[in-house]
């Protein structure tokens, strides 16, 4: 137990704290509990502050994308806007529909929060700065994301609202479809590194001086898309599809209950960015630069880099229809992931059997990048060729010309 604790607190101030507590008391359990609480507080405050910062970032960046300024009234540059939002949300009366499903209605805002927070426990913030180094870290992340969709289903069901139920059904259907490509995509780095522990995967990338994203570009693509779908963010936000089902599963939630859903969405975005950064983009390592900059700053920087990408996606794309989203998963992502798994297994086998040095990674990187472009081109063409069959410009006709069409026949002219 001491080893586990000591590993986490190589982060200097905490290390001193640990030593100090060790001097004061000899009870290992007590030390463990105190240190665990301190670590959890650290993660919680990062996540809490991160969610607030995300509100500001998201509004500001989307404002820029939409040729407007974004929040700029509260505080310098609108920095205090999230605080104002939070105060407003807390002040609001929390309404509960009379026909809602009692206790079940109040649970989901809390339930979605738990997996969102737990995700951050397994991240490697720096060498030996891991709250919980699980042997099954990658699977743990997947399990948490599946629990989130259940909580969202509960919210939709308990609201007793038709829009909410539609949203809940969509979440469930999407969870089934997108879990599979996600698992298959995350299998690739596990195959390559031979470990499911996240610090292990980051360490592999650091020692070999290569990011897995170079070798596994296709899983990055697949994971990014399926994670966006699980996050209910814009190209795939069918669960809360504003223009269709008002706000989907959280239509009936007001005040801070809605605020929790909103915060969870932001925290989950951070978590997905963190997973992308750790598993594919080297985590806290940055080709030796992490010697000079504190690694956790590099890691947080990477998280926000990918989070920026998510905001960008949200600002630019319309939303897919649910059946198109399902088709995209089943017809494109899952076949791609399966092909990728086969190729990666073969590559790993060749590498392990011949005991090649790390130069083989660059060969693999080249091969896999070429493969990705070929496959993506093929699949995109197959999926979208129907949309491009007609010109995407209106035809210009100079004079009025109407063909004399026979009147259509109706069985019943009634409509409306």
């Amino acid at each position: 137990m001491r080893a586990v604790v000591a590993a986490w607190y190589d982060f200097d101030p905490f290390h001193e704290l640990y030593e100090w507590i060790g001097d004061v008391t000899s009870s290992e359990e007590l030390v463990y509990v105190i240190i665990a609480v301190v670590g959890a507080t650290g993660i919680l405050s990062f996540v809490g502050l991160g969610a607030l910062a995300n509100v500001w970032l998201e509004r500001k960046i989307i404002g820029r994308i939409q040729v407007r300024r974004g929040p700029n009234r509260v505080g310098p540059g609108g920095l205090l806007q999230p605080v104002a939002d939070a105060i407003k949300l807390i002040q609001k009366e929390v309404l509960q529909p009379r026909a809602s499903d009692g206790k079940l209605y109040n649970l989901p805002p809390i339930l979605v929060f738990i997996p969102a927070m737990l995700t951050f426990a397994v991240f490697a913030w720096a060498p030996d700065m891991v709250y919980a180094d699980l042997n099954v870290g990658v699977l743990y992340l997947l399990a948490l994301s599946s629990v989130t969709s259940l909580a969202i289903f509960m919210a939709g069901w308990a609201s007793n609202n038709k829009y909410a139920l539609l949203g809940a059904m969509r979440v469930i259907a999407m969870a089934v479809s997108y879990e599979i490509p996600m698992v298959l995509a995350l299998l690739a780095p596990v195959l390559f590194t031979g470990t499911m522990s996240i610090p292990g995967i980051v360490d592999f990338q650091r020692t070999n001086d290569i990011w897995l994203a170079f070798m596994l570009p296709l899983p990055v693509f697949i994971y990014a898309i399926s994670a966006t779908a699980e996050l209910n963010r814009t190209p795939a936000d069918i669960a809360e599809a504003e223009s269709e089902i008002v706000a989907g599963f959280h239509t009936e939630y007001s005040g801070m209950k809605f605020g929790l859903f909103y915060a969870v969405e932001l925290i989950n975005s951070l978590a997905v960015s963190g997973i992308l950064a750790s598993l594919f983009f080297g985590g806290y390592s940055l080709f030796g630069i992490d010697e000079y900059i504190p690694p956790w700053i590099i890691f947080i920087g990477k998280i926000y880099f990918f989070y920026f990408g998510l905001i960008w996606l949200r600002g630019t794309w319309p939303r897919l229809r649910i059946d198109q989203l399902m088709a995209f998963s089943w017809k494109m992502l899952i076949p791609l992931a399966l092909i990728n798994i086969a190729v990666v297994s073969a590559e790993v086998l060749i590498w392990r059997l011949n005991e090649f040095d790390s130069w083989i990674f660059w060969v693999y990187a080249l091969m896999n990048i070429v493969m990705m472009f070929v496959l993506l081109q093929f699949f995109f063409t197959m999926l979208t060729k129907n949309y491009y069959r007609l010109p995407r410009r209106a035809t210009l006709i100079h004079d009025v010309s109407v063909p004399s069409l026979p009147a259509p026949t109706f069985t019943q002219g009634g409509n409306a």
């Binding site: 109407v402 004399s404 009147a407 109706f410 019943q412 002219g413 009634g414 409306a416």
Partner: protein, 253 residues
């Protein structure tokens, strides 16, 4: 190039061949047929090779006090001409066959005319009110809606500040009585149908109270009682088609 307007007289000539005795009146503006023949005339106009009126511009109804005219403005996009025909219905029992099967676009417009003018389109698949709520008393676009007492005609008889004939100064307006009051008498008495209308329509338009006034903060004070209604004088107010039983607003507001 511009759209040719086919005069009603010209249409009347051909219409008379196809439907002898169907033309009641023909002017340069329009041709008028009896109400019961509107649908067959419409079908003929649509399928006739010369007129080819595949496009229905609009349908409207006019209350001429003695009778109703349902005006059909139809045109041919291919030949780029337009013509107007009217169906004349009696004022007591205005029934016109629907042209919904001829032009699908007539559907909503016929419902609108039924709602506001009270002309029934027989054979229409969904003949119910479209803008006003079910149970609304009367049809507002009729000239006798809220019929005015003392034989006053509805509508604006004169411009409120119009000078009397021959007078071209503001002197008369500066007279001790002040500007002339509008000559239209305004009806102030509540109508017998109004209370019912509130009850029926309250749910939809949010005018009525309905439901309990209990909140989680306690009970709101009752509104002060309404002043006793002025009893309308018998025979002055005509409210048509008050159908208090047709309560189709079953769904909650």
């Amino acid at each position: 190039m511009s759209t040719v307007t086919i005069p009603g007289t010209q249409v009347a000539a051909r219409l008379d061949e196809a439907f002898p005795g169907a033309v009641i009146e023909a002017t340069a503006h329009s041709v008028t047929v009896p109400a019961e023949r509107a649908a067959e005339v419409a079908l003929w106009l649509r399928d006739d090779e010369e007129y080819d009126c595949k496009f229905l511009n609009c349908i409207t109804g006019i209350d001429w006090m003695e009778h109703f005219d349902v005006v059909y403005v139809v045109s041919s996009l291919a030949k780029n001409h337009t013509l107007v025909f009217e169906a004349r219905a009696s004022h007591d029992d205005p029934v016109v066959p629907t042209v919904n099967t001829v032009w699908m676009g007539a559907n909503l417009q016929e419902r609108e005319i039924y709602d506001l003018m009270g002309i029934v389109f027989s054979g229409h698949p969904n003949m119910k009110r479209i803008f006003l709520w079910d149970g609304f008393p009367g049809h507002p676009l009729r000239k006798d809606f809220l019929a005015l007492p003392q034989g006053h005609k509805p509508g604006l008889q004169r411009f409120p500040y119009e000078f009397p004939a021959g007078e071209r100064s503001y002197e008369s307006l500066a007279s001790p009585e002040g500007p002339r009051a509008p000559s239209v008498p305004r009806l102030r008495a509540p109508l017998p149908g109004q209370a019912a209308a509130q009850d029926l329509g309250g749910g939809q338009l949010g005018t009525g109270g309905g439901g309990s006034n209990e909140t989680r903060f306690g009970r709101f004070e009752q509104r002060p009682p309404a002043p006793p209604p002025v009893t309308p004088v018998e025979g002055e107010i005509v409210v048509e088609n008050v159908d208090l039983n047709s309560d189709d607003e079953a769904e909650s507001p």
